[in-house]
C-alpha cells in the first residue's frame, strides 16, 4: 500500500438482504491518518458498510479495498492491523470484562498492558464484573478498552459511545485524539454530532445505502445557508427580498436564510431599510444534518 492510497476505498458497493438493497452503490474513501465521520439516519446502511469492510458480510457488487487488501479474502492479514468496536456490545455471560478484554486483545496479537491498565483506570471500568452484570455503557467501555489497548493502524468504530455518560464521552474523545496523534486512521460511525464535530477531519453522509455528501465539515457548512434575523425601521416590500430564501416577515422583523457566499449581497439588500438589530448565525450542525438526512433530493448542495 503506497502512502497516499486511501486506507478504505469502496466503489459502487452493493449489499442485498434478499430483495432489500441495504447498500446501493456506495462510494466511500478514507485517507490515511484521518478521523472519518460516518453519519446517516437509522437504517441508512452504516453498520452494513462496516460489516462488509470487516468481511462479516459478503458484498453482492462493487469493490472494497481495506488497508490495501480485500476485506473478504484477506481477513486474517487485515484484521491484524485493525480493531473494531460494535455499537451493541454483547459479552459472554460467564466471563468477566477483564477476561473479555484479554481474549479479544490476545486474538488480535497482544495488548499493550500499560495502556490497558491506563484505559481501565481512565474509563473507571470494573473488570471483575461478569457479562450480564455490566450496564449498557460499561459493556461499551469493555469493547472500547479492548480496541484501544492494542496498537493498530485502523480503528473501525460503530457508534462506540452509545450509552456513555458525558464524562466518559469526554474521556473517549481525549483517548481517540491520542490515537489519532499516534497516526491511527479512524472510521467513526456516530449519531452524536458534537463528537463528530470535535473529532472528525472529514465526514461522509449516507442515506438509503448511498453516500450523499462527503467532505470536511467546513466545506459542508459552506454549502449550507446562513440564518439572518433582522429588525428594521422600515417595512420592506416582499418582492424586493427575492435574493433571500425562506423569508418570514412579521411586521418589521425578518427571518431568512442566505447562501454562504451571499451574505454581502443580503446586507446590501437590507441596509436601505435601516437596520436596528441584526444577527447572522452560521448554520448549526443540527440544521445542516437534518437537511442532509431528509429525504427530498434538493437538500444542501448538489447531489
Amino acid at each position: 500500500m503506497s502512502a497516499d492510497e486511501p486506507v478504505i476505498e469502496t466503489q459502487g458497493l452493493v449489499k442485498m438482504f434478499g430483495k432489500f438493497k441495504a447498500l446501493d452503490g456506495l462510494d466511500l474513501s478514507v485517507a490515511k491518518g484521518e478521523v472519518h465521520g460516518f453519519l446517516g439516519p437509522n437504517g441508512a446502511g452504516k453498520s452494513t458498510t462496516i460489516r462488509v469492510l470487516l468481511g462479516l458480510l459478503k458484498a453482492n457488487g462493487g469493490t472494497a479495498r481495506l488497508l490495501g487488501g480485500d476485506p473478504w479474502s484477506d481477513v486474517v492479514e487485515l484484521h491484524k492491523r485493525l480493531a473494531y468496536v460494535p455499537g451493541d456490545v454483547a459479552l459472554w455471560p460467564s466471563m468477566s470484562g477483564g477476561e473479555a478484554i484479554d481474549l479479544l486483545g490476545s486474538l488480535r496479537g497482544g495488548l499493550d498492558d500499560a495502556r490497558r491498565a491506563e484505559l481501565v483506570e481512565r474509563f473507571e471500568l470494573d473488570p471483575t464484573k461478569r457479562g450480564r452484570q455490566y450496564s449498557k455503557g460499561n459493556r461499551q467501555k469493555v469493547a472500547i478498552v479492548a480496541a484501544l489497548a492494542s496498537n493498530v493502524e485502523l480503528l473501525i468504530l460503530d457508534e462506540p459511545t452509545s450509552g456513555l455518560d458525558p464524562l466518559m464521552e469526554n474521556v473517549f474523545q481525549e483517548v481517540l485524539g491520542e490515537a489519532k496523534d499516534r497516526g491511527t486512521t479512524v472510521l467513526l460511525s456516530s449519531h452524536i454530532l458534537s463528537e463528530v464535530e470535535t473529532l472528525a477531519d472529514r465526514l461522509s453522509i449516507i442515506r438509503a445505502g448511498k453516500i450523499v455528501e462527503t467532505g470536511t465539515l467546513a466545506s459542508m457548512r459552506g454549502k449550507a445557508r446562513t440564518t439572518v434575523h433582522a429588525t428594521m425601521t422600515r417595512i420592506p416590500v416582499a418582492t424586493d427580498l427575492a435574493g433571500l430564501h425562506d423569508v418570514q416577515l412579521d411586521g418589521n422583523k425578518l427571518a431568512a436564510t442566505v447562501d454562504a457566499n451571499g451574505i454581502g449581497d443580503a446586507m446590501a439588500l437590507l441596509t436601505p431599510y435601516g437596520l436596528e438589530a441584526l444577527t447572522v448565525a452560521p448554520p448549526s450542525l443540527e440544521s445542516l444534518f437534518l437537511r442532509l438526512y431528509e429525504n427530498d433530493a434538493d437538500a444542501v448542495g448538489t447531489r
Partner: protein, 531 residues
C-alpha cells in the same frame, strides 16, 4: 382479578400466538411415534407367530428395556404402542414443555424482552403464570392430537386415551420442574439444563429399575415410573395420573414462592465476581471455557451411565436365565453365547454413543446461538479466521465425544469383564473406542448444518434422530438392512463377536469427513448473522 396476575390473560394470548409454532415439532413427534405404532403393527406382525417373534426379540435384548421400559405385552398393537412410546413420548413432551417455560421466563429476561413487558401493566407473577400456562397447554395439545390421530389410525379407545394422557401428565411434570429451575439458574441455559438433567436422570433410573427388577419403592419414588405403572392396554390404571397432577401442583407452588423473592433477570444462585485478567486467549480456550460447565455435567453423567449400564451387564445372565427369548436363540444354536453377549455389549455401548452425540450436537449448536447473540462478530473481527473459530468448537465437540466414550467405556468394561459373559476388558473397552467414529459422523451432520444452512439449524438433530430411530426401533420393525445402514451405528462392529467387519466404519468415517468439509466451506462463505 388479583393484582399479582394482572395482564396474564392478554400476555398468554399474544405469547401463544407467537410461540405456537415452537409447539409444533413436539406435537408432531409424539403423534407420529404413537400413530405409527398402531398403523405399522398389523403389517409388520400380521400373524401370531410374528408377534411371538417380536416378544422374543424384545426379551432377548434387555438393553432395549433401559430406554423403553418393560414390555408388558407386545402381542397387541396397543400394547406394542405402549411399550414403544410411553417413555419416549412422555420424555419428549416434557422436554418441549421445559423449553417453552424456560424461554418464556428466563429467556425473555436475558434478551431484554421481559423488561418491556414487565414495565407494562403486568402483575409480578403474570409472566411466570403465562409461561406455566403455555407449558400446560402445550402438553394438553400433545395429548389430544396424539390421541385423536392414533384413534383414527385404529388404536384401542381406552389404551390410547390413557397412553396419550401419560404424555400430557409427563409434560405437566416437566412444566413444574422447569418453573422451579427457572427461578434457580443464573441464566436461561443453566435453568433449562437443570430441568432437562432432572428429567434425564429420572428417565435412566426408570429404565434401570425396571430392567434389573429392583424393589417396588425404587419405582414409586420416580415420577416417570408412575406413568409406566398406568400399564396402558394391559391394566389401564388411571389413578397414577393423579400423582403426576399432585406433583405438578407442588412444584408450581414452590416456583411461585421462589419467584416472589427473586430479582428480575437473576437466579437464586448469584455468580461471584470474575477475575480482572483473563487466561482464555485463543478460540480453543474460549470454546472450552464456554462449554466447561456443560462438559463437566455431561462427563459426570457418562460416569453414572457407565455404572448403570455396566452393572446391567453383570445382571444379564440372571435376567436371561429365566427368559424364554434368549434361551430359544441360544438353544437353537443359531448364535454362540459369545456372539449374543458381544452383540449385547455393542448395543449398550451404542446407546452410550447416541447419548454422547446428543451432548456434542449441543456444543455445535451453541456456535449458532453465539452467532445470533452477536458474540461471534467481535471475534471474527480479530485476525481469527472463520475456519479457526469454527474448528475450535468442532474440536471441543469431537474431543468431548472421545472423552465421554472413554469415561463410560472404562467403567462398562470393568463391569462387563467381571461378569463372566465371555467378554474381556479389552474387547468391551475396544467396543467403546470403535463407536467413536459413528458418534463423530452424527456430530458432523450438525457441523454441516450450522456451517452451511444455519437457518434450519434444527436439522442438526437429524443425525441423532436417525441413529436413535434406526438403531433402536429399526430392528423391531423388520426394516431392510440398507435402511438400517443409514445409521452410522449400524456399521460399528461388535468387537467381542466372531465376525468383526471394519470396512463399514471406514465408510462412516469418510462420510463424516465429507460433512465436516461441507460445514467448513459453508461457514467460510456465508454472511454472519446480523441483528
Amino acid at each position: 382479578m388479583s393484582a399479582p396476575v394482572v395482564g396474564a390473560p392478554l400476555l398468554l394470548r399474544t405469547s401463544i400466538k407467537h410461540e405456537a409454532r415452537s409447539f409444533a415439532p413436539w406435537i408432531a413427534i409424539a403423534t407420529v411415534l404413537s400413530a405409527s405404532s398402531v398403523l405399522v403393527y398389523p403389517w409388520v406382525f400380521p400373524t401370531e407367530a410374528d408377534r411371538e417373534g417380536l416378544a422374543t426379540l424384545v426379551g432377548s435384548n434387555p438393553a432395549l428395556g433401559l430406554i423403553f421400559g418393560p414390555a408388558f405385552d407386545v402381542s397387541t398393537a396397543d400394547g406394542f404402542n405402549a411399550w414403544r412410546t410411553l417413555a419416549l413420548g412422555g420424555l419428549l413432551t416434557a422436554l418441549g414443555a421445559i423449553f417453552v417455560v424456560t424461554k418464556a421466563t428466563r429467556g425473555q429476561e436475558d434478551s431484554g424482552q421481559a423488561e418491556l413487558l414487565a414495565s407494562g401493566v403486568l402483575g409480578r407473577s403474570s409472566r411466570l403464570l403465562t409461561a406455566v400456562a403455555m407449558g400446560l397447554i402445550m402438553s394438553i395439545i400433545v395429548g389430544i392430537v396424539a390421541a385423536v390421530v392414533t384413534l383414527l389410525c385404529g388404536g384401542g379407545t381406552e389404551a390410547t386415551l390413557l397412553l396419550c394422557a401419560t404424555y400430557t401428565a409427563t409434560g405437566w411434570m416437566g412444566t413444574g420442574f422447569a418453573a422451579v429451575t427457572s427461578q434457580l439458574g443464573a441464566e436461561a441455559r443453566a435453568s433449562s439444563s437443570m430441568a432437562v438433567g432432572v428429567m434425564g436422570v429420572l428417565f435412566i433410573l426408570r429404565g434401570f429399575t425396571y430392567s434389573v427388577e429392583a424393589a417396588d419403592w425404587a419405582l414409586w419414588i420416580n415420577p416417570l415410573a408412575w406413568m409406566t405403572e398406568t400399564k396402558p392396554a394391559v391394566e389401564n390404571n388411571w389413578w397414577p395420573l393423579w400423582l403426576a397432577v399432585a406433583l405438578t401442583l407442588v412444584l408450581l407452588v414452590v416456583a411461585f414462592a421462589l419467584q416472589a423473592r427473586r430479582d428480575f433477570g437473576q437466579g437464586a444462585i448469584a455468580p461471584a465476581p470474575g477475575p480482572a485478567r483473563g487466561r482464555a486467549r485463543t478460540p480453543l480456550a474460549l470454546a472450552l471455557k464456554l462449554n466447561r460447565g456443560t462438559l463437566i455435567v455431561w462427563a459426570t453423567g457418562f460416569a453414572v451411565l457407565g455404572v448403570v449400564f455396566g452393572y446391567f451387564t453383570t445382571a444379564i445372565t440372571d435376567l436371561l436365565a429365566g427368559d424364554s427369548g434368549i434361551g430359544q436363540v441360544l438353544a437353537s444354536g443359531a448364535q454362540s453365547p459369545a456372539d449374543v453377549f458381544g452383540a449385547f455389549v455393542a448395543t449398550v455401548v451404542n446407546l452410550i454413543g447416541i447419548f454422547a452425540s446428543i451432548a456434542c450436537v449441543q456444543i455445535i449448536l451453541r456456535v449458532r446461538k453465539e452467532e445470533m447473540d452477536d458474540r461471534v462478530e467481535p471475534l471474527i473481527a480479530t485476525p481469527t479466521s472463520r475456519a479457526r473459530y469454527y474448528a475450535s468448537n468442532v474440536v471441543v465437540a469431537m474431543g468431548a465425544a472421545v472423552a465421554f466414550l472413554v469415561i463410560a467405556g472404562v467403567i462398562v468394561a470393568g463391569f462387563a469383564s467381571s461378569a463372566d459373559i465371555g467378554v474381556t476388558y479389552g474387547q468391551a473397552f475396544g467396543q467403546a473406542l470403535a463407536t467413536i467414529p459413528a458418534v463423530w459422523t452424527v456430530i458432523a451432520v450438525a457441523v454441516a448444518v450450522v456451517g452451511a444452512r444455519p437457518k434450519v439449524s434444527i436439522a442438526a438433530w437429524a443425525g441423532v434422530l436417525l441413529s436413535f430411530g434406526l438403531t433402536l426401533l429399526g430392528p423391531t420393525f423388520g426394516l431392510d438392512d440398507w435402511v438400517l445402514a443409514i445409521s452410522p451405528f449400524y456399521h460399528v462392529p461388535a468387537v467381542a463377536t466372531s465376525t468383526v467387519e471394519w470396512a463399514g466404519l471406514g465408510v462412516v468415517f469418510l462420510v463424516g469427513a465429507a460433512l465436516v468439509t461441507v460445514g467448513f466451506a459453508g461457514f467460510r462463505r456465508r454472511d454472519l448473522a446480523t441483528t
